[in-house]
Point group: C2
Chain length 277, copies 2
């Protein structure tokens, strides 16, 4: 049996209770889809992790070392999810970080994401969460380990027919889903919320932005109701239309379909079972 978890390069799944990840959420993480033995968008994920490290003052290991460790877990995996957590490592009690502390690198392999053909074709059933995202520009965009807002938002519903929740900032502007980014199609143009005060800047979101003309700006909640198209992006689940937003039924639009097709063509691992050509 090959290892499914590595902590600092060694098979195992244990960290010290002195780890600053455990005590303060002092670190960041990445979650990625694995296909044909390797993580998709690996470089982009490591680059975002490095940006988080820079913001928090955590020095990451050399990219080659991270990659070697990741590939030890993903080699031979046809479809899975890989999670990579980096923390400032163990330290003495107190917020002050020991500058000589060695980061903890925890890499783990998980089940492949559950995306059905209906999720991909018709879309996800989504609700608006009451839990809001506080404005903290210093941490905005980063996938750091302080995720209680997402935990509390996801705890708002237990009905399995609802698959995601949209979170707003304190001014009621939609920012992202609990574990995905949000896009609107408005009069032939894609729009995605600005993430300068809160939210996570996703890697699948970056893929969409890199494809071209997307307006990044503050969005009002009322725009979701009038938008021609709504979809979510996730580096694990891909591009998925929104089929229902609370009481409102919606259908997948042409811009969403086109992006989804482009993604599936470029990265076939995102194609759910039943959607293959």
């Amino acid at each position: 049996v090959s290892a499914r978890q590595l902590v600092n390069g060694t098979p195992g799944d244990l960290v010290s209770i002195d780890d600053r990840g455990f005590n303060y959420g002092d670190g960041a993480f990445e979650t990625m889809l694995v296909a044909q033995g390797a993580p998709i968008w690996w470089e982009a994920h490591v680059e975002r992790l490095r940006r988080a490290g820079d913001a928090l003052g955590i020095a990451l290991p050399a990219p080659g070392k991270l990659r070697d460790d990741a590939l030890r877990l993903t080699r031979g995996e046809q479809r899975a999810t890989l999670k990579l957590v980096v923390t400032r490592g163990p330290s003495r009690r107190g917020y002050r970080a020991d500058p000589t502390a060695a980061p903890t690198i925890a890499i783990s392999l998980h089940a492949a994401p559950m995306v059905s053909a209906d999720d991909a074709r018709l879309g996800l059933r989504v609700r608006r969460c009451a839990m809001t995202l506080a404005a903290q520009p210093r941490l905005a965009g980063l996938k750091h380990l302080n995720r209680l807002e997402q935990v509390l938002a996801r705890a708002e519903w237990t009905d399995d027919s609802v698959q995601e929740g949209l979170m707003c900032d304190v001014d009621g502007r939609p920012i992202c889903a609990t574990a995905a980014n949000l896009f609107l199609g408005v009069r032939g143009r894609l729009v995605t919320p600005l993430l300068d005060r809160c939210g996570v800047a996703g890697i699948a979101r970056a893929w969409v932005l890199a494809r071209g003309d997307v307006e990044t700006r503050a969005v009002a909640w009322s725009e979701l109701e009038t938008a021609d198209e709504l979809f979510l992006s996730s580096s694990v689940r891909g591009i998925l239309p929104i089929a229902r937003l609370d009481g409102q039924q919606r259908s997948a639009g042409p811009m969403t379909r086109e992006l989804q097709a482009a993604l599936w063509s470029e990265q076939p691992a995102f194609i759910p079972a039943g959607c293959e050509q």
Copy 2:
């Protein structure tokens, strides 16, 4: 050698990388002073932990069980610091919590706090931090495990002559120190910042509030400069005057002295070496 760490009642210092404390900061903690074999203000700490558990939906073990575990570590300790961390426990990947997950209880014994006679008599040298506290009413007051704001604030200085940093909310109003609460003496009356949007409601702060006439309200930064007295409260370090706030020299005032004397009389463990009668 007696145990200095217990995880779920068993000597040891390891938790799973699947623990939601490690992944999301999904939990809360308490830090307390230990004297003559037992933690000070134990009931108040457990009560605050339970409030955090209620807010996060984490069921704590019975108080008697927590107390028995804590006393296993503190028995025979003349002076130490006890830390108690409760998380939602290990779970599958994703923000959604498994309602059957069993919380992780990590209890650890640490060195006694370093408070000098000068710290207690003259006061602490304190700076204003640039890092601000985001407004999140759902988490305000709780000592949860999402503490990157405090980590980043504490990382702003390395000069050991500065002992604490004051943090403001996004509107520039002082809220608390990185690891203590703040009090002002203004025209014979004590004032402490309102913690309805951010900040941690400390147990030593609650002790001060319970002694009587303290006004809890929004405070402007300019009031710190004109206040007659300024002090910090901590359940580990006790009541300590502020001797310098950035460039401004200050001296300990009569209200601060009186409260400190009352605390030392009630809980002699807070008396630093060199300050005994």
